[in-house]
Symmetry: C2
Subunit: 364 residues, 2 copies
């Protein structure tokens, strides 16, 4: 079992990573002093709930906890204000009080949605993450929670740190192949922004990761969480440094939006976005290998590097204008200067970005 502490002063919390952790969940809850009188509210989705919810519920009830559950439809469309309201209603009806906790059992969508319920309910109650995807290693560090608005992703949200993150590698064994690959995109990102040796390690172990080798996966998640933790600890509210975590996300979020949040998975969209950032980086003076290594590692992880041609360039540019990273008329871009190193460019011209979007349609 690996343990990692996210250091945020009095909001610090641990991430536990290991195989079979769910069997001991009640003892971890005891250790964290969760209330056995106030109900725990487990939120999961229609994909994950049949596989893991009965076990989590049973283990907690055996440990003396009161459990209520809610299952939302799987997929990004559940990250809506309507679904948020429905969960608040269920929480009220179940009698959740200030000593209750909301538990997210699932991937990033469930984490963001349930986390925002925890952030908003009675102005904030305790929150615990049980991520069941690789991708969620990213959203499980940093306390960002949110729902989407039809006009923009993650626009309604909060910073709400979890009490703990509980990563049972056994839950990853049934992940569909496409989601495994998509999840690796954020792992690669954490290497690209911070740690050239980790990028080399991924390059060498991509096959093991794709085969869901528990040792390799545990190490990759630990490293990915560590990079994110190092960044977040230095800049909890995204004033500056934290922005580097957005490598590939400005283009990526726009692609997701224009593809109606269903054609492209998040990891696929930011994979294409990271190739775009690498092209911009090389144009601005980074060595050519930044582009080559970025593209190679992503492809080794089975990720797309080409932007689907039928996505309209005008719509993509328009979607970027609504992004939170668009500040006072300038586009803010995270640009690699070397493998493992990026800089924040606050004056990227829209013309240059448009040219890269066109170029990404010809990658292969």
């Amino acid at each position: 079992m690996r343990e990692l502490t996210i250091d945020l002063g009095d909001r610090s919390y641990p991430i536990y990573i290991g195989e079979g952790l769910l069997d001991q969940i009640a003892s971890y809850f005891d250790k964290h002093g969760l209330s056995k009188k106030s109900p725990l509210f487990i939120v999961s989705d229609s994909n994950v709930a049949p596989r893991f919810l009965p076990k989590v519920q049973q283990k907690l009830e055996e440990g003396g906890y009161r459990v209520v559950t809610a299952v939302v439809p799987s997929g990004e469309s559940s990250k809506s204000l309507a679904q948020f309201e429905q969960l608040i209603t269920e929480a009220l009806q179940a009698g959740l009080d200030r000593n209750s906790a909301v538990i997210a059992l699932g991937g990033g969508v469930v984490g963001d949605l349930a986390g925002y319920v925890a952030a908003a309910y009675m102005r904030g109650i305790r929150f615990i993450q049980i991520p069941t995807t690789i991708l969620a290693h990213d959203s499980s560090v940093g306390g960002k929670v949110a729902v989407n608005h039809p006009l923009a992703k993650n626009i309604i949200g909060a910073f709400h740190q979890p009490e703990m993150v509980f990563y049972d590698l056994a839950t990853l064994q049934t992940l569909p192949e496409r989601e495994v690959k998509s999840g690796l995109a954020e792992v690669v990102k954490h290497g690209l922004i911070w740690d050239t040796e980790f990028v080399d390690w991924i390059d060498a172990h991509a096959d093991k990761l794709l085969a869901l080798d528990a040792e390799a996966l545990g190490y990759a998640l630990y490293k990915g969480c560590s990079v994110k933790a190092a960044v977040v600890s230095q800049d909890e509210r995204e004033n500056d440094l934290r922005a580097i975590l957005n490598l590939g996300h400005t283009i990526g979020h726009a692609l997701e939006a224009v593809a109606n949040y269903n054609e492209l998975q998040h990891g696929e969209a930011i994979s294409i976005g990271m190739v775009g950032s690498a092209i911009l980086g090389v144009e601005l003076g980074a060595p050519q290998e930044v582009y080559e290594v970025t593209k190679r590692v992503l492809q080794r992880c089975g990720l797309p590097v080409r932007l689907p041609e039928h996505l309209d360039t005008d719509e993509i540019m328009e979607a970027m204008m609504h992004d939170k990273k668009f500040k006072e008329g300038h586009m803010v871009y995270i640009i690699p200067t070397a493998i493992g190193k990026v800089e924040i460019n606050k004056a990227m011209s829209a013309e240059r970005v448009r040219a890269v979007v066109e170029q990404l349609k010809k990658e292969g």
Copy 2:
């Protein structure tokens, strides 16, 4: 001009109180470094907007600021998730970004609603309060923002501290008499929980306050804000001490809910609630004068002390069970032990509260 600093470390902010302050609003915004490139989003209501919105907008635009506005229907019913969503949509359409600020121009409803928009939009942007009621002196300190759910008041919200609070006493001159009285209820509360001399001062100056004497009003608001600031500075997240600000609110919120948020104003409801707390206090050993002074000062401020008989006792008790102050099966009550002094009672029996609710129907 009186100035008061709410001391919350790096979230500290000033409250400016004075007559005619709105004329200089642009220079205050300059002083606080607000952006002239990113739009400011002024939220007001249908009562307040016709009187003050054109002036605020004009003064800011003259100062070089970009202003967009939204006007919501006046009244508690605007503190809804639907209205919140509508404002988020308007903010997105107006191109608000991370350097924008949301400005609440109005009473507590507008402050809570606009404040929650500021807290949630892009996970939190700057927030400025321009209170136009006496009651709002209370909600302008402490950072509590929220909307209501049909099942419970203020259940969806956040702690989001304003950048500054801007109290122009001139805006209070057109307040309807009933709102003046209602606002004084929170002023009285701040005396009752903290400052026996301030209670005596209110007792002696109630007539001047009701006549909207600017000097008396400025002092009362300054003192009320000071008491709240002292409490909040010591306990920002309502772990313990801050709960004393809820004097009269457990019963008060229940009355508002059972009266469908329209028959009783907030201040009227907590006035009745504070008399209830005084009765409980005397029953538990406080001197008889706690009840007598509480009742006399509230009545001198023109506030009701009798619970309307047609409000059903069962419904009132049921509404209290949904209150955030109901923790793990016990009722938490704020109980006076003397004038200017209260204690937190965490084991109040529902039977005793029910008897007091019945008794309040016979007050006069």
